[in-house]
Amino acid sequence: MRPMALVLKQPSVLPGFGLTLGFALFYFSLIVLIPLSGLFIKTSTLTWSQFVHTVTEPRALASYRLTFGASFLGALINGFFGSVVAWVLVRYRFPGRSIVDALVDLPFALPTAVAGITLTAIYSSNGWIGQYLEPLGLKIAFTPLGVLVALTFIGLPFVVRTVQPVLQDLDKEVEEAATTLGASRWQTVRAVIMPELWPALLTGMAMAFARSVGEYGSVIFIAGNMPLKSEITPLLIMTKLEQYDYAGATALGVVMLVASFLLVLMINLLQWWSSSRHTAR
């Protein structure tokens, strides 16, 4: 207990600080931090040029393009449609609204492998939706478009769930004020509502993007996994692992991990921005 008192900023009468924080840190270090740092240590067995060569070979570069590109597009799609869904769920009443509201979280709860085989089944050329797209020249399953579909599915809840509470908390009086000042509905949405939504919307998109970049299960079934064409980075890591190329897998893993950390940092900055931007400079 005593050394822990050094970390405490404020004394407290409540017990259990040392015990709970100690256990939490110990457990989290053991399960997460130490194994993760192992990844970086393992990379250091590679020379710099080996590392650079591994992470910049054409197959790796193509996989980054697909992974980050499809994730970005998916985040954009979800940014738009997610906002519409959030708006409709908060502002309008229609039959089945509460069921729709509950189902938005499905991609959180559904195992990714299930999502993967199901999306493949629907969007393949003889699937429920794929059969209507095929005549239009749109092939989705087993193409990069399939990756986009899977990542859009995975990222769907994020924007809805970040924008929804902000919309709910918007003060109706503020909109009325804009109306009494002569603003049209569209002017009110653009000048009064949207500025309030932006931080949440961007945060939601960044979260969807971060989740999509690492996604594996739902993508590998629908992607077709053609090297240089429809192969995502997590799959490339997996392939290298299966070929016992631990060093190569690790190098790519480090790239992915650094990208994830940067995204987490960005999300935190966005959240900090949205909570503090109205307060004093």
Binding site: F94, T112, A115, L241, G253
Partner: protein
């Protein structure tokens, strides 16, 4: 009566023209939202069951008589039964320390707890292979002592724990932070022990969030695919969890079998969503009454 309805309709149109949208904008937006959700949510959900039942009930139940499936079910339950309680203890401990005390580095701790959510599941598996695999640091020592972690149950459990570490903690932390520490301090000054305070004061306040955290953690533990896939080795009837079994069946062109097993996991997801909805209704009447302005209720008569 009919004039009353007419007035009501007129009043609603009036309101919509002020701080709402015209009827056609409203329905366009609803159609857009539902169309999008249909394409990406409703159709996939229906497709799981449609594909599973394509050849009738008999072939639907066939994979569940396969001993390999039963082993996969058992393994999935074991992994969840170990991961969920451990993460529960972690989540409660972390939330208690973070919500009830002010200490240096607290914000950093809150941030890093989310790391497993940001890390690709493939990397979550990879780090354990690097540690415990045949060529890993501890690998040779493990082989010497004939302990198998990778391509065996312990690896699967570890990967599952890693992936689901944050779920209970991140349900509890914001809630307990917003509740403050006054009630606990009151109980403690009245002579309750720390444990009594937790059981009688804290727990009743957090039980619904705790329950949802457990349910969500369990669903993710049972459904984890990527991380487990890396460490499992895919040994049929031995180190296959349910999601991995779905993959194997699917790759063997046994689509009906794959979807039958998938439908089981989908039911788990649906149950999770139902529990979530029920808990939200129970714990947050304040939340559901939260959208006052947009429901057709009296505004603010004075």
């Amino acid at each position: 009566m009919s004039t009353e309805i007419a007035t009501t309709v007129k009043n609603e149109e009036w309101k919509a023209s002020l701080t709402g949208e015209s009827t056609w904008v409203r329905w366009t937006l609803i159609a857009l939202a539902l169309g999008y959700l249909t394409l990406f949510l409703f159709v996939p959900l229906a497709a799981v069951f449609a594909e599973a039942l394509k050849n009738g009930l008999e072939s639907y139940f066939a994979p569940f008589q396969d001993p390999d499936t039963l082993v996969a079910i058992r393994l999935t339950f074991i992994a969840a039964a170990l991961a969920v309680p451990l993460n529960l203890v972690f989540g409660v401990a972390a939330a208690w320390a973070i919500a009830k005390f002010e200490f240096i580095g607290k914000q950093l701790l809150i941030t890093i707890i989310d790391i497993p959510l940001a890390v690709s599941p493939v990397i979550s598996g990879l780090i354990y292979v690097l540690l415990f695999g045949a060529q890993g640091w501890v690998g040779p020592w493990l082989i010497e002592h004939d302990i198998k972690i990778i391509f065996a149950l312990p690896g699967i459990v570890l990967a599952t724990i890693f992936v689901t570490v944050p779920f209970i903690a991140r349900e509890l932390i914001p809630l307990m932070q917003s509740q403050g520490r006054e009630e606990e301090e009151a109980a403690f000054t009245l002579g309750a022990s720390g444990w009594q305070t937790f059981i009688h004061v804290t727990l009743p306040n957090i039980k619904w969030s705790l329950l949802y955290g457990i349910i969500l953690c369990n669903a993710r533990a049972m459904g984890e695919f990527g991380a487990v896939s890396v460490v499992s080795g895919h040994i049929r009837g031995l180190t296959n969890t349910l999601p991995l079994h779905v993959e194997i069946l699917y790759n063997e062109y046994n689509a009906v079998g794959a979807f039958a097993v998938a439908s089981l996991l989908t039911l788990l997801a649906i149950v999770t969503l139902i529990v979530k909805t029920v808990i939200e209704r129970k714990s947050g009447p304040a939340q559901s009454a939260h959208d006052p302005a947009w429901s057709p209720q009296p505004g603010s008569p004075s």
